[in-house]
């Protein structure tokens, strides 16, 4: 059997296909245990939750002690200029070249702004960041972001925190079909089965936060997602049988042909 190919982002290789977010946890202790259970190597952290002045309130401090790659995100930015400033500050504080560009001008539904995301990604990729843009599930935008140097594209499955699953599955299929960079489904997943489905479909990875943090047992759920992502990838590699949408006709229609 061939060794499982790794997830490659900006030239850096990762074994884990599960990225996790760090917001919404009941305590730092649970967050750290959930990250360990998830096996995630890439972990996102919001700059606005970085608070070195009060270590008990700071998400960055505990994360720097783990053997993971930090991905600061720009959550809170409502345009490209703010996201660029936040990305630079995030790099300074975390020492990581990775950035998740997250620009949601509407603080309620938190849907990403395609135009500002494109502008910020273009500048940050040029500055040497490994850019992971959170984006609407739009196949054209995905190619545009790839063209300006993003290391992956991160289309949403559904709105952040809703747990509605892969409501954008059709668009994500189109994105995967044409993408030259890994496609990472970000936001909206609720169940490990949905993560498995995303991997079977051809996603390079999935990013999960709320589904783990808001689960009855976040550590158990982190582990379940890790297993599901592995199962989905294994299924894709094994080759799913073709799906038949109708029964085979008993009276063939082509007997008149030679």
């Amino acid at each position: 059997m061939n060794p499982v190919e790794k997830l490659v982002l900006g030239g850096v290789e990762f074994d884990s296909r599960l990225l996790v977010g760090t917001g919404k946890f009941a305590s730092t202790d649970v967050m750290v245990k959930a990250i360990a259970a998830s096996g995630a190597q890439l972990v996102t952290v919001a700059l606005r939750r970085v608070n070195p002045e009060r270590p008990s309130d700071d998400l960055l401090g505990p994360l720097t002690k783990l053997n993971i790659t930090l991905v600061p995100n720009t959550s809170g930015a409502r345009n490209a200029a703010e996201a660029i400033r936040a990305a630079r500050l995030g790099r300074e504080l975390s020492g990581s070249r990775f950035v998740k560009v997250e620009i949601h001008p509407n603080p309620h539904h938190l849907m990403p702004d395609a135009i500002e995301t494109y502008e910020a990604s273009k500048v940050l990729a040029r500055e040497g960041f490994i850019v992971l843009p959170y984006m609407p599930a739009d196949p054209v935008l995905a190619k545009r972001l790839e063209e300006v140097g993003c290391a992956a594209v991160m289309p949403l499955g559904s709105a952040i925190g809703t747990g509605h699953g892969m409501t954008t599955a059709e668009m994500i299929r189109l994105i995967i079909a044409d993408s030259g960079v890994p496609v990472i489904v970000d936001a909206g997943l609720r169940a490990p089965s949905e993560a498995a489905a995303a991997m079977e479909m051809g996603c390079g990875a999935v990013l999960v936060n709320s589904a783990i943090a808001a689960a009855g047992d976040p550590v158990g759920m982190a582990n379940a997602f890790a297993e599901a992502v592995k199962a989905g990838l294994a299924a894709r590699r094994a080759g799913l049988m073709s799906r038949s949408t109708h029964a085979v006709a008993t009276s063939p229609l082509t007997t008149f042909l030679a």
């Binding site: 919404k24 946890f25 305590s27 608070n51 809170g76 936040a86 001008p105 603080p107 309620h108």
Partner: protein, 374 residues
């Protein structure tokens, strides 16, 4: 339509008139529909305020908690208020700072403000709410703006609860580093509004009602809304508040609204609220808002008792103040005047409140913003 003696009426896009009957007499089926529909609309919100919905309060609470957790996680954002001044030109019947109250007035001078900020920052807070009374020469726009600019050096998030300002003044606050402005309409019903606000600029109902739109127009990110529950018909006020929030969300898509639930309790300063709101009904109002607006920050202050606050934390409520003083200053030394604007019912310190949240499986969050987003 309600019309006061000066012929002031509530604007159509806030007027709750058509939903009043439903809020008073929705059937069990109406409530069930509201709970089961994927997108809660105005009629559903009204039904959730009804006595029939009050009969299934536990189910409302379960929904509210699930929605709070999905959007805000198992966290409670913390903030602290600082009263800069208790000078006031207003004549609000229900308020401890009304201009006919005999108490000596104070305002913090720049050096005192600085010491208060340092003391508050040392308590760990990263979000501060600066308050004043109605506009007076002692506490005017430049005074508030300068305090915001200084606060922005000490805190990640600075918000203001003061008098209604012009759009230009709000732009000045935004430039100084203000991320949110809270302004309660007190009551949306123009008839009691006129009776309760006896003199001063606050008599202008329309001006005040339009202020949150000016806040968002100026580029400030959050407008905080609220009605002072108990001073008028709470059904009318809560429905209006909901419609006001809806209207602002539609109009200012790049901004946010947040909602607070100040309640006047009978024992305060001799004022007896004519429409007292019970704990159960206040909880129902908060659950209804959370179910109808799953992504809007809902805030509860230390006006409320510790047991009620602990019960509501994470069950609808996503944001809370703690260790509050409602006197002018008072954080850096205990030399503030004894008379606050309202009575602080939950007087726990930061550590014991955080311990109570943690015992409920909630993480207190002190910093949820960054100076880089100014």
């Amino acid at each position: 339509m309600k019309r006061n003696e000066n012929s002031v009426t509530i604007p159509d896009d806030v007027d709750p008139g058509r939903w009043m009957d439903l809020a008073r007499s929705a059937s069990a089926d109406d409530v069930r529909r509201a709970l089961d529909c994927p997108m809660v609309g105005e009629a559903d919100f009204a039904a959730l305020l009804s006595p029939a919905a009050g009969g299934v309060l536990e189910e409302l609470a379960q929904r509210a908690r699930a929605r709070t957790q999905a959007h805000f996680g198992r966290t409670i954002a913390l903030y602290v208020p600082l009263y800069l001044s208790d000078y006031c030109s207003g004549g609000c019947t229900y308020c401890g700072f009304a201009s006919d109250r005999g108490q000596a007035r104070h305002r913090l001078e720049p050096d005192e403000i600085l010491r208060e900020f340092e003391a508050i920052a040392a308590m760990g807070f990263q979000e501060i709410l600066l308050l004043t009374g109605e506009r007076t020469p002692k506490a005017d726009y430049p005074y508030v703006r300068d305090a915001v600019a200084e606060a922005a050096r000490h805190f990640a998030a600075v918000t203001v609860e003061a008098f209604p300002m012009t759009t230009e003044e709000y732009r000045g606050l935004a430039a100084a580093g203000c991320v949110g402005v809270t302004l309660y309409q007190e009551t949306y019903d123009p008839v009691p509004y006129e009776r309760l606000h006896r003199w001063g600029p606050k008599r202008d109902y329309v001006q005040r009602l339009a202020a949150p739109a000016r806040v968002l127009e100026s580029g400030i990110r959050f407008a905080g809304l609220g009605a002072l529950l108990g001073i008028a018909d709470p059904i009318f006020d809560v429905l209006s508040l909901y419609r006001h929030a809806l209207q602002l969300r539609r109009r200012f898509w790049q901004s946010g609204v947040s909602i607070s639930f100040p309640r006047v309790c009978p024992q305060e300063g001799g004022y007896v609220p004519p429409h007292p709101v019970s704990d159960r009904f206040l909880a129902q109002i908060i659950f209804a808002f959370r179910i109808a607006m799953p992504d809007v920050p809902l805030s509860l202050s230390t006006r409320e008792q510790a047991a009620f606050r602990d019960g509501m934390a994470g069950v609808g409520i996503s944001k809370m103040s703690i260790a509050s003083r409602t006197t002018v200053g008072g954080y850096q030394a205990h030399n503030a005047s004894p008379d606050g604007q309202f009575h602080v019912s939950d007087d726990r310190d930061v550590a014991s409140f955080c311990a109570a949240l943690e015992a409920k499986g909630l993480e207190p969050v002190f910093k949820n913003w960054d100076k880089v987003f100014r």
